[in-house]
């Protein structure tokens, strides 16, 4: 408790300022989005941001090629990004922590096989793996979550395995075993508390990367499908109109950048607080 109070006093203001609006948009976006983000209105197509043309505050960030309000789409896009990346990273974390714990604790052949598997997967560029999985599963929300879970679990497995290996040999674990604790109790009560900090740090650091991967997949048309709004998809659609409509790619891109920057700063801060030895990864 004391530790958390101390941490709370030094919260990273910049990261919070960047992430907070994104979080609000993701949670309550529909409530305050000025227009219907999916309403097609060809007569309003490709309007420049209204404050530039002196048309007041109706379409602040302009409209896209189908006359949809860019601001509303940017706001609503936060939801799919957050759902996909948070769930994906949590799934990856749960899988990776479990496998890493067992791999480190059991050792032997199981450990060897798991670590080989991690090596194999890491010998493939992440984006190619993501492409293959999306090609196999088809596009969509679930597919992207699966992609993120599969691409990211290896990092947890490696780090958690390493820490389990070292904690396993410490005196208190040996004592616990002498006292007759079951393996399950040793894992849950004695080992997990020591590895959970690293897992939390990795999860936070991965969040930014997950947002980028999600954006890249939806840019390639392999992410969430319309009518659900995704920032990457908005940028992909904007490519045809860059000669006339600069506002189409600009604003979704800035939002992605703000989200990733916030997540990265938050992750860096958490790492320095909880687990500075993770600096290398």
């Amino acid at each position: 408790m004391k530790r958390f109070l101390r941490i709370a006093r030094e919260l990273p203001i910049t990261a919070m300022l960047l992430l907070f609006p994104v979080l609000i948009c993701g949670l309550f976006g529909q409530c305050f989005a000025p227009h219907d983000a999916t309403l097609i209105n060809p007569s309003l197509a490709l309007r420049a941001p209204s404050w530039l043309t002196g048309q007041g505050w109706t379409y602040i960030l302009g409209t896209d090629y189908l006359g949809r309000d860019v601001l509303s789409r940017v706001i609503l896009g936060a939801r799919s990004t957050l759902i996909v990346s948070v769930i994906g990273v949590v799934c990856a974390g749960v899988i990776g922590v479990f496998i890493g714990l067992f791999s480190g604790y059991l050792g032997g052949r199981f450990d060897l096989i798991i670590m080989r598997l991690v090596d194999m997967q890491m010998s493939m560029p992440a984006i190619l793996l993501a492409l293959l999985i999306s090609a196999a599963m088809g596009a969509g929300l679930t597919a992207v979550i699966v992609v993120i879970a599969i691409v990211f679990w290896t990092q947890y497995a490696r780090v958690v395995r390493g820490e389990t290996l070292s904690v396993k040999q410490r005196d208190f674990v040996v004592m616990a075993r002498v006292e007759g604790c079951s393996s399950r109790r040793i894992l849950v009560k004695h080992i997990v508390p020591h590895v959970i900090d690293s897992a939390v740090v990795i999860a936070t650091l991965q969040l930014g990367t997950a947002v980028m991967l999600e954006a890249a997949l939806s840019f390639l048309g392999l992410g969430v499908q319309p009518p659900t709004v995704a920032w990457g998809k908005m940028i992909a659609e904007a490519r045809l109109y860059i000669a006339t409509a600069w506002w189409l790619p600009t604003f979704p891109g800035i939002t992605i950048m703000v989200t990733v920057l916030g997540a990265n700063l938050w992750g860096d801060w958490l790492r320095d607080k909880l687990d500075p030895k993770l600096r290398q990864i």
Binding site: L131, M212, G253
Partner: protein, 305 residues
């Protein structure tokens, strides 16, 4: 050393075996190829015949062994879209990817190094803040967005550079900047921190005391001692750049391997996807082995176990 090399090579081949399984499984899960190959009015017999011809009627493990044997001989099948052997197609696109990757890599490394060293030697000045902020932003921008914004500003608004295709040197500038931006950001962050670690050391003070000009102290004495993490990261970045080229090539219509793979995914041209992903992963694995070995040359203290 030789032992380590052979061991590492063996591990690399095992990894490639794993990659081949991943590719095989992914392509099998993607659906029935015969439905794509045959016209809509094909009869049941046509399907059976084609499945037998392609070996799809055999058990899955047998199919995998056949796939692996063919892959080792460079036979990934024929592209259904281009009507040419997939490997041949992939190899003709490889030089373009290498060209882009190497230019982007050199750009990223040299500028990243320069920025990182400058930031470290100007502690607390505005230039350090600019480099740090730039690096943070550079790591937060998706490469496709950087590409589109560069096209928008430099290509469309200013008419300075061509925005798509491959041609003279002017064609490669924008894609290379786009592809290199992320690596440059990471490189400058790492260079800065490892230079800061070194600059406080006694031998740097000694080098200054001996009357060396500041330039020599920084670029020779300090950078040399800070170089191991920098070179390691640079090596991994070379591998990474080849991987990330997939997206940048799509943005700039650069006729490389990455664009070919993406087009093949859209066209469900699985032979090309297999060959392309297989080749890229092989390159990736070998670059990583090379980096591991290089690491040992640079730092003799590292013992290969």
């Amino acid at each position: 050393m030789l032992r380590y090399f052979l061991k590492r090579l063996l591990a690399g081949f095992i990894c490639l075996l794993g990659v081949s399984i991943i590719i095989f499984v992914a392509v099998r899960l993607s659906g029935d190829v015969t439905e794509l190959l045959l016209p809509e009015d094909a009869t049941q017999e046509d399907f059976t015949r084609l499945r037998a011809e392609l070996g799809l009627d055999k058990p899955i493990p047998v199919q995998y062994v056949i796939f692996l044997k063919n892959a080792c001989q460079g036979n990934f099948g024929r592209s259904t879209r281009w009507m040419r052997p997939a490997l041949e197609l992939v190899l003709t696109r490889l030089p373009a990817t290498f060209e882009l990757g190497i230019v982007a890599f050199l750009f990223a490394i040299s500028l990243g190094l320069l920025a990182g060293v400058t930031a470290a030697t100007h502690r607390g000045k505005w230039i350090e803040q600019v480099v740090r902020l730039g690096a943070l932003c550079g790591q937060s921008m998706p490469s496709f967005w950087i590409g589109i914004m560069l096209m928008l500003i430099v290509g469309v608004q200013l008419h300075l550079l061509p925005t798509s295709g491959r041609g003279g040197f002017s064609h490669i500038i924008l894609p290379a900047i786009t592809l290199g931006a992320f690596s440059m950001a990471s490189q400058s962050r790492l260079t800065r921190s490892s230079m800061l670690n070194v600059l406080g050391a006694d031998y740097i003070k000694m080098a200054r005391l001996k009357g060396n000009p500041e330039r020599t102290v920084i670029w020779k004495h300090a950078l040399k001692n800070a170089s191991i993490p920098i070179v390691t990261l640079a090596g991994f970045q070379l591998a990474d750049v080849i991987g990330r080229a997939v997206i940048v090539e799509t943005v700039f219509a650069w006729p490389g391997l990455g664009k070919l793979i993406i087009d093949a995914v859209y066209a469900r041209d699985y032979a090309v996807v297999q060959a392309g992903v297989g080749l890229l992963s092989t390159i990736y694995v070998f670059i990583n082995i090379g980096v591991d070995l290089l690491y040992g040359f640079l730092d003799p203290q590292i013992r290969y176990e």
